[in-house]
Every structure is written in structure tokens, then in C-alpha cells.
């Protein structure tokens, strides 16, 4: 789960990280009022789950409260990478002497959180890693011991030669690590970490990505989810306990299991079609899940054919068949459906489907081919 910059800053600020004051605004009026309270030059920053906000025109400097209002007016409602800006952060502008990058990622290779710091901050860290890897220090952390003081100092000294600044930075490293662990992050970044002309070390931007598996035990973090900033069909799917990702094609896919779901999408492509989505109904066989899956897929007007691919292990195929029958009775389909199912209770499922006017096959390749044909306007084989 992504959280917004202002939410990540709130988490860090609460544990003492130096961050310039700022507040969130949803209207130009609010933005003006906040700028007036701050009483200095401000930055108006779009709060969306997308990188490259600055390049897209979503970050603007404002010298006066009136100007803050104008900038907010321009940014609110704008589209950044397909996402509408609903909120802006109005925050005090800072003078910058130097910029650094500080991040922690959960690294699969070392199976540990890894600190990545670089004095070349403010820009794309992947680019720094590719072009000047010597400017990055990577430090894996054993979570059984946590970030040790000498490690934090080593990170600090990699950024700054000056002891006072290195100490200030190492304190911020400890805070970022604490926030990372306490919020259940898979990524936490401060980019840039800046030194002001007065010599203060402060965090100007923050980003956190939360491991979805953490949300059940961290209700306060789960409450930070901003559904207005997500694809509506994906919100609907998540609330129905389905894993759904919208794509641009026209073959709607309903599959059980993530690996099989990906393989099914790939097979659609192999036979010349384009998948409209990734959808995993999961291991349990609740007919209600199938009803919700069909509701979500048929709401996508790009979908020209629907493909079910179910391999019944724990999933009972008769439950899936019942789900298809129930869903299509409630909402008759406007596009053709191709059903492939095999495994647990296959005979019962076939019987249910046949009695209700559906046909089904047990062969994955045949079913995918047929769905692609139907979606592209060809005749059913």
C-alpha cells in the first residue's frame, strides 16, 4: 500500500525528524489560509501516488498566500500519470545548500532491509545506481539487532565529512529505521535530505510503501489508505477479497491462483489477444467471489469476451459454476463467456453449467484460443 508524502512526513515528524511545517489543503482557499499561517514562502505539492510530480507540474513555489491560492487552483484536479490530484501539501519552502538521498528497501537478495544513501540526492536513485554506483553506500541491516549506532554513524559520514552534520544525519537514519519497522514498510525514503545554508539537516520529501501483509496488525497505518487515489475497480476488488489489476486489453480473465492467472494472461497474448486484467479469485471457493469478479469485469466496457480458467485443488469447481450461474442471472452477460475448469468436483460443475445453458471445456489452450477469437470479432471455433 502506498501512502502520501504528507502521511509519511507525519509519521516521521511524530518521532522527531526535522521536517518543515506544512498542512494539507483540498481547496485553493485552504491553501491560501495555510500559506498565511506559515507566513513565509511556501511550496504547493500535489499528493498523488506517482513519481515525477515535479516534472508533471505538480510542485510549485509560491511567494505569497495569494500565489499559493493560484498554484493550488492549478494543481488541484490536474492529472498526473492518470491520477487526479485531490489534495495538495502546502509546506514552508527551504533554502538548500546540498541534497542527499536516504532510503531503506526490503531487499530480497540479502533477505534484509538495506539502507541506501547517496550524497547525490534529489534525483532518481536508480539512475545514480546505474551511472555512478560508487556514490551509493548500501548497508544491510539484521533486524534481530536493528540499526546499530556505529552503522548509523557510518551512513552519516558517507554523506557529510562534518561531524555535526554526520551526527544529525545518523539520528535521522535511526528515525527512518524506526518508522520503517513500526509502520511495516517495504520501502521508506527521504529524498532529498538537505543541508540548509544555516547548516541544519532536514527532510524535504518522504515516501513510504507499506507491506500489505502488515495491515491487519497495524490498524492505524491501514487507516491511511486513500481510496480516492486508486483505480475504482481495484478498490471494489480489494473490498471483495479479490486481487485485481486493470489492464488495457479486451479479454477479461477470471483465474484461481496468481501464477496460473499470469500464465493465462500470457497465453491470451500468445494466441494474439490482449488481457483486460489480472484477477485471482484465490484459493477458497466462495460463489460470492465469482459474482463479484464478474461484476467488476463486466463494468469494463473494453471487455469483449470473458475467460474463466479454474484449476480446482482447494477451489471446488462446482462452487465456481454456481457463482457463474448466480451472477449471470442477476446481470445477464452482454459479451460471450468461455469457461475452462478442471479438478475438484468437475463433473458436478459441468452438469450445473450445461443445465443452465453454458458450455465448458477442460483444456486451457482451447479455451484461451476461443476467448481470443470471440474478443477479436472472429467466430467461435
Amino acid at each position: 500500500m502506498n501512502i502520501h508524502e504528507y502521511q509519511a512526513k507525519d509519521i516521521l515528524r511524530a518521532i522527531g525528524t526535522p521536517i518543515p511545517p506544512g498542512e494539507i489543503a483540498t481547496t485553493p482557499d485552504e491553501a491560501e489560509a495555510i500559506a498565511r499561517r506559515i507566513g513565509k514562502m511556501v511550496v504547493v505539492k500535489a499528493q498523488v501516488h506517482a513519481g515525477g510530480r515535479g516534472k508533471a507540474g505538480g510542485v510549485k513555489l509560491a511567494k505569497t498566500p495569494e500565489e499559493a491560492r493560484e498554484k493550488a487552483q492549478a494543481i488541484l484536479g490536474m492529472q498526473i500519470k492518470g491520477l487526479t490530484v485531490e489534495k495538495v501539501l502546502v509546506t514552508e519552502a527551504s533554502d538548500i545548500a546540498t541534497e542527499a538521498y536516504v532510503g531503506i528497501i526490503l531487499d530480497r537478495a540479502s533477505k534484509k532491509p538495506v539502507f541506501m544513501v547517496s550524497p547525490a540526492g534529489g534525483i532518481d536513485i536508480e539512475e545514480v545506481a546505474a551511472t555512478t554506483p560508487e556514490k551509493i553506500l548500501k548497508l544491510p541491516i539484521d533486524t534481530r539487532y536493528g540499526l546499530m549506532p556505529f552503522q548509523a554513524m557510518r551512513l552519516g559520514f558517507f554523506l557529510y565529512d562534518d561531524l555535526a552534520k554526520a551526527r544529525a544525519a545518523s539520528k535521522i537514519m535511526q528515525q527512518l529505521y524506526t518508522a520503517f519497522m513500526q509502520s511495516g514498510c517495504s520501502l521508506a525514503e527521504i529524498n532529498p535530505l538537505v543541508v540548509t545554508p544555516a547548516g541544519e539537516v532536514i527532510a524535504l520529501d518522504a515516501k513510504m510503501v507499506i507491506d500489505d501483509n502488515e495491515l491487519d496488525r497495524r490498524p492505524a497505518i491501514a487507516a491511511l489508505r486513500d481510496e480516492t487515489s486508486e483505480e475504482p475497480s481495484e478498490v471494489l476488488a480489494r473490498n471483495a477479497n479479490l486481487t485485481f489489476i486493470k489492464l488495457d486489453g479486451n479479454v477479461g480473465c477470471v483465474v484461481n491462483g496468481a501464477g496460473l492467472a499470469m500464465a493465462t494472461m500470457d497465453l491470451v497474448k500468445y494466441y494474439g489477444g490482449d488481457p483486460a486484467n489480472f484477477l485471482d479469485i484465490g484459493g477458497s471457493s466462495n460463489p460470492e467471489k465469482v459474482v463479484n469478479a464478474l461484476r467488476i469485469i463486466t463494468a469494463d466496457t473494453n471487455v469483449k469476451a470473458i475467460l474463466f480458467n479454474i484449476f480446482g485443488g482447494i477451489t471446488r469447481t462446482d462452487d465456481v459454476a454456481n457463482g457463474i450461474v448466480t451472477a449471470t442471472k442477476e446481470n445477464p452477460l452482454k459479451v460471450p463467456i468461455v469457461i475452462r475448469l478442471t479438478g475438484t468436483n468437475e463433473e458436478i460443475a459441468m452438469k450445473i453449467l450445461t443445465e443452465n445453458g453454458f458450455s465448458a471445456s477442460s483444456d486451457m489452450d482451447e479455451a484461451v484460443k476461443k476467448a481470443v477469437q470471440l474478443a477479436t470479432g472472429g467466430q467461435a471455433a
Partner: protein, 290 residues
């Protein structure tokens, strides 16, 4: 022959009285797995289905029955503790079926089991099956048959699909191993490949990977440098968009790393056969067996 589990596997089930645990314990017993104990705190002294003794702790279960393998069906927030408990109790193999374990928990669990010298499979995996000998986990027994092919995969149902197609074509398996779809897991492709290389009964290995991470690329290097047996590979997620988590927590293309294309290329460079579709495994494996 088989890898990781076989006729001498004696199993303790952690979470034996839960919904999933009880269902799959029955299935495992039916398949012929030697389930010697179950663990549910507070139900020590009772018996599961009138036959399998239940203990309060894994330590009690291992002490009383000598179980050498554990399978875990406990809820995700308790899984890390359950894995460490099993390792502490002295089993040699731990199979964690549980899906949804916080990854940060695994950063503590992984070094613990490594230090103990215990093999962990999973979490978020379907377990493993050595057809005709033993099954630990949730892979449906009836889709497998004994034979010369080793199978290792990051997925559940995709594995079933491919194993089923092999079985239908008359090609049996030594062991099918599901390593799981999480970013930090106990056993990786290389561990399974090394075990198959060492197993005299395994003649060909089928390996099913997916997008995300570099496990498959490292496995390809291992195949090239250390394996004498042929390996056939498949990668799911060629149509997956970057930056999105495709169901499995580990199935995500980060930046430009972890794509299907780079993994398939690594397979080809290692001289492995590459199945473009799941069904292609049948012909590719047949060619190596004849």
C-alpha cells in the same frame, strides 16, 4: 527416490485443529503421509480424528513422537513464531503453507532457521509431494504420479496445471516442490535444483518461475555451472505491467529489473529448454527422456 520428503518423513501439523489444518491433515493421511502429531495450544492430550495425538507445543510433539518434519497452517500473524518454534524443537524440515506473513517477520525468521541448519520451505507455498511416498502441504495427490521428473515452482495452481499435463501424458514425478510466492522464502530454486541433481531417480527438472527478483537468473547460472541433468523452464508474467504486485507478494517488476524477458534470456543463455506455454513442458520433457 525423492527429495526433501519421502517414506521416512514423520510429520507434525502445527494448527491441526484449524479450518485449513484439519482439512489438509485428512488429505495427507489419506495420501499415506505419516502424520504422527498435531499441535494446538490448549488441546494437548486430545486426539485428531481419534488417531493423531495433539500436543500443546512443538517441543512436546517432537519429544514424544520423534517427528522430523513440520507443516504450518497457522494464521499469518502467528506464522513467524510457529516457524521459530519448530526450528527450536529440532525438526529438520519446516513447510510453511500460510499466506500473508509480513515480510519483516521473515527477516528475523530466515537467519534463525539458517543458523539452526533447518530447511524451511515457504511461506506462502503449496508444500511438496513425492508421489507414492509422502505429501506435505496442499498439492492435490491425484494429479501426480511417480516418475523421473523433478518439479520446482514459485506458484500453486500453475504447478498443478503443469504437473497435471505431465501426468496425463504419462510422465511421472520424483518430487514436486512449491517454494512459494513471497519475496523472502526459506528454500529457493537453487536449493531445489541441487537436491534434484543429487537425486539418482530424477532425470529431468521442470522449473516454473515468475516475474520479480533475480532468483531465476541465479538459478540459470547454477544450471549452467553445476547441473548435469537437463532443466526446462517457464516464466509467468510476460504480460504483467511494471510496478504492480501480481497477486504474489514477490511478483513485481521493480524499475526495469525482474522482467519475464530477462529471465527467459537467462534460461536460454544457460542452455535450458524454455516452455512458451504450460503445455510445451510435455514435449520438451519427453525429448529428454527418450
Amino acid at each position: 527416490m525423492s527429495v526433501f520428503i519421502g517414506k521416512d518423513t514423520t510429520l507434525v501439523v502445527q494448527g491441526i485443529t484449524g479450518r485449513d489444518g484439519s482439512f489438509h491433515t485428512k488429505q495427507m493421511i489419506e495420501y499415506g503421509t505419516r502424520v504422527v502429531a498435531g499441535v494446538t495450544p490448549g488441546k494437548g492430550g486430545q486426539k485428531f480424528e481419534g488417531t493423531v495425538p495433539i500436543y500443546n507445543t512443538v517441543a512436546d510433539a517432537v519429544q514424544a513422537t520423534g517427528a522430523n518434519t513440520s507443516v504450518i497452517y497457522v494464521p499469518p500473524m502467528f506464522a513467524a513464531d510457529a516457524i521459530i518454534e519448530a526450528a527450536d524443537a529440532g525438526v529438520q524440515l519446516i513447510v510453511a503453507i500460510t499466506e500473508g506473513v509480513p515480510v519483516l517477520d521473515m527477516t528475523r525468521v530466515y537467519p534463525y532457521v539458517k543458523d539452526k541448519g533447518v530447511r524451511l520451505l515457504g511461506p506462502n507455498c503449496p508444500g511438496l509431494i513425492s508421489p507414492g511416498e509422502s505429501k506435505v502441504g496442499i498439492i492435490p495427490g491425484r494429479i501426480c504420479t511417480p516418475g523421473p521428473v523433478g518439479v520446482v515452482s514459485r506458484s500453486g495452481t500453475l504447478t498443478y496445471e503443469i504437473v497435471y499435463q505431465l501426468t496425463r501424458a504419462g510422465i511421472g514425478q520424483t518430487t514436486c516442490v512449491g517454494i512459494g510466492g513471497d519475496p523472502i522464502n526459506g528454500t529457493n530454486f537453487i536449493d531445489a535444483l541441487a537436491a534434484f541433481e543429487a537425486d539418482p531417480a530424477t532425470k529431468v527438472v521442470c522449473m516454473m518461475g515468475e516475474i520479480g527478483g533475480t532468483d531465476e537468473q541465479e538459478a540459470a547460472r547454477f544450471v549452467k555451472e553445476h547441473m548435469t541433468k537437463p532443466v526446462v523452464g517457464f516464466i509467468a508474467g510476460q504480460t504483467a505491467p511494471p510496478g504492480r504486485r501480481m497477486g504474489h507478494a514477490g511478483a513485481i517488476i521493480s524499475g526495469s529489473a525482474g522482467t519475464a524477458a530477462e529471465k527467459i534470456q537467462a534460461f536460454q543463455e544457460a542452455g535450458m529448454g524454455v516452455a512458451k506455454r504450460p503445455i510445451d513442458f510435455v514435449e520438451l520433457v519427453k525429448a529428454h527422456l527418450s
